[in-house]
């Protein structure tokens, strides 16, 4: 078990006071952005990118990982207390969790969500430590055609399988791919889509794109809808669970973990499907089926565990293949590139210190989350009383500061505004953000691999199907597309509850 030794080594590296501090900052910040609907871990990581370029990569990634897990956890608080899930992954939690809260069992709902997240996150991280090196070992031998296939799979799945509308997903994807094209063609040295602007020849900085889409777009969207009726919050004390709650929760936690992790690990993950599956499973298995829909604790424990397990699963393709499957993961990938670290299968061997310290700090961050969140839940609920103008003024300040600090060029501020307007338009027309950001980040990688494959085969497109793995991946893609059509039929119409207020554009905005 060499990997466990490596994980142990990573644990020792992560338990320095400095790294512990970054983990703590990360989980606090993550919970902060997770609790507030509309702002998520992807935005937080994007805003922090310029700041963290001054840090060691390890410290930065410890913080990012904390933000990611914290954001996953924070979403459950809002779902349970307000019935407004911040992202699609929390919709199922809101379904039973809010009913529990209304019945005066908010403390138990929050507790089962927190402990379930902890258990699923810990098991998930250990599974990442187990599977990522194995996958990376295999992936080192993968040729360019298979890489192309895997990236195509990730792009097509995130834009068509997830989310409510295939058309909108594809529109967002192609917008992202176009943005990814801007700049010098790496093979021929010709400028593309630069419109004669010298700054554009130098490729768009991912910080500017991500901050513009996530932070500025959201801020402008909120500014356009500033005054709304305040929501009624359910008051809550310190979360706790009785013996009966424990007895009813532990099996859903484990089942949720088992369902969630594989869905997070396959490219085209996302927590929407596993949380749905976990919810349906728990409802089927429940002894007292009538309780479901009125606040059954199993309906909170299962989906919340599935949610966090899939959040952990996401690290497998990110670390082993360099393929992100969530918005946060793609911003993290951009951060890796910012440090001059080449993501891909060789990451596990070339940067093994970074990887193992990161995995170890995920375990630490998870524990910190549990320790912090159980007693702090009432405080997190208070965050919802921050006036929006002050909150978004702060976000805008950091957004502009971050965009400017990348190149110290006022042109970037103008670009930021342009991407902010694009982000606003996407929210207005319900375009999902994830396909766009994946397109921006994976597009150039896809192009490089595609050209590599074609250069080897002298331009013969048939070579793209020349590797068995590539063929398998395309078959999986075809199957998934068919499955999606079947699922749409099978899923009972009108299942999406009306009383849950999920904004369309946030559905895949994780």
């Amino acid at each position: 078990m060499g990997d466990l030794d490596l994980l142990w080594g990573g644990l020792q590296a992560a338990v320095t006071p400095e790294n512990l501090m970054y983990a703590a900052i990360g989980v606090l910040l993550g919970t902060f952005v997770g609790v507030l609907p509309g702002i998520g871990p992807a935005m937080a990581v994007a805003l922090l990118l310029p700041v963290t370029f001054g840090l060691e990569p390890t410290s930065a990634f410890i913080m990012f990982a904390g933000i990611y897990y914290g954001g996953m956890y924070g979403g459950s608080t809002t779902s349970i207390l307000l019935n407004t899930p911040g992202e699609s992954a929390s919709v199922m939690t809101a379904l039973e969790g809010n009913k529990m809260a209304k019945a005066g069992r908010a403390a138990q709902a929050l507790a089962t969500a927190a402990i379930g997240s902890f258990i699923a996150g810990t098991i998930g991280t250990l599974l990442v430590a187990l599977f990522a090196p194995m996958l990376a070992d295999v992936a080192v031998d993968i040729g360019a055609p298979s890489y192309v296939a895997i990236i195509v799979l990730a792009l097509v799945m995130t834009s068509t399988v997830l989310g409510s509308s295939r058309l909108r997903g594809l529109v967002a994807l192609f917008l992202g791919l176009s943005i990814g094209l801007v700049g010098l063609d790496l093979n021929t040295g010709q400028p593309r889509l630069s419109f004669g602007v010298p700054q554009l020849v130098d490729r768009l900085d991912i910080v500017v794109v991500a901050v513009g889409i996530f932070a500025l777009g959201e801020a402008m969207w909120v500014a356009a809808h500033l005054r709304r009726n305040p929501l009624q919050i359910i008051p809550v004390g310190r979360p706790w669970m009785g013996r009966e709650d424990w007895r009813r929760s532990w099996k859903p936690w484990l089942r949720g973990t088992a369902v969630g992790f594989p869905f997070g690990a396959i490219p085209a993950g996302g927590a929407e499907i596993p949380t749905f599956l976990s919810y349906v499973t728990e409802r089927k298995l429940a002894r007292d089926q009538g309780e479901f829909g009125k606040g059954a604790i199993e309906g909170v424990a299962g989906p919340e565990a599935a949610n966090n397990a899939s959040a952990a699963g996401m690290f497998v393709p990110l670390l082993a293949l360099g393929v992100p499957v969530t918005a946060t993961a793609s911003v993290m990938l951009a951060a890796l590139e910012g440090y001059g670290i080449q993501p891909g299968p060789q990451l596990m061997t070339e940067q093994s210190d970074l990887v193992w310290t990161l995995l170890a700090s995920l375990l630490i961050g998870n524990t910190l989350l549990l320790v912090l969140n159980l007693p702090l839940a009432p405080l997190w609920a208070k965050l919802l009383q921050i006036p929006r103008p002050q909150l978004y003024a702060g976000i805008l300040f950091f957004a502009c500061l971050g965009a400017y600090s990348v190149n110290l060029d006022p042109f970037d501020i103008a670009l930021l505004l342009a991407f902010g307007l694009l982000g606003l338009a996407m929210r207005r027309f319900g375009l999902p953000v994830l396909p766009l950001i994946l397109g921006v980040i994976l597009g150039p990688i896809l192009e490089t691999k595609l050209r590599e494959a074609l250069a080897i085969s002298d331009g013969a497109y048939s070579s793209l199907l020349g590797e068995p793995l590539a063929v398998v991946v395309y078959v999986i893609l075809a199957l998934a597309l068919v499955l999606r059509l079947v699922l749409a039929r099978v899923r009972p119409a009108g299942f999406e509850p009306d009383d849950i207020d999920v904004r369309d554009e946030e559905k895949v905005n994780r």
């Binding site: 005054r227 305040p230 009624q232 919050i233 609920a381 921050i386 006036p387 929006r388």
Partner: protein, 141 residues
């Protein structure tokens, strides 16, 4: 019929304002309008009453006034400016008195958050009664 307008929030400040308004209304049979306003810029505003809270205060008030349900109104408003929302209702019904529960504000707090009470007092067309929690109405009812 004359009306007393109360700037009401579901807390001790709203509570004391209602007590004073009840005493004043009992003197001459005026009606009481409670205005619960929010800027609507927070996701959760604890001063924005829930339907239950509004119904409860309306019932208590109606029980305390000789005129009963007919002389009690409760209005909930989301407006850019809470002070203006209260003043608008006062102007609409030609109020004879506005009652406000007031809280202490530090100079910095006032600079940052402004003061609703101050603007109501300065801009009102009628007398304004500013009351603090712990004070009792002049006339027992």
């Amino acid at each position: 019929m004359s009306w007393i307008v109360v700037g009401w929030t579901p807390d001790e400040f709203g509570q004391v304002a209602v007590e004073h308004a009840t005493a004043e209304a009992a003197l001459d049979g005026s009606g009481v309008i409670l205005v619960n306003a929010s800027k609507g810029d927070k996701l959760v505003d604890l001063r924005f009453a829930s339907g239950d809270q509004l119904e409860e205060v309306r019932r208590t008030l109606a029980a305390a006034l000789p005129g009963g349900d007919d002389v009690v109104q409760v209005r909930q408003v989301v407006a850019q400016d809470v002070a203006e929302a209260v003043l608008a209702v006062a102007a609409e019904v030609d109020a004879t008195l506005i009652v406000l529960g007031i809280r202490r504000r530090t100079p910095v707090g006032k600079l940052l958050m402004g003061s609703v009470a101050q603007r109501v007092i300065l801009d009102a067309e009628c007398p304004v009664l500013a009351v603090k929690p712990g004070t009792r109405p002049r006339y027992a009812h």
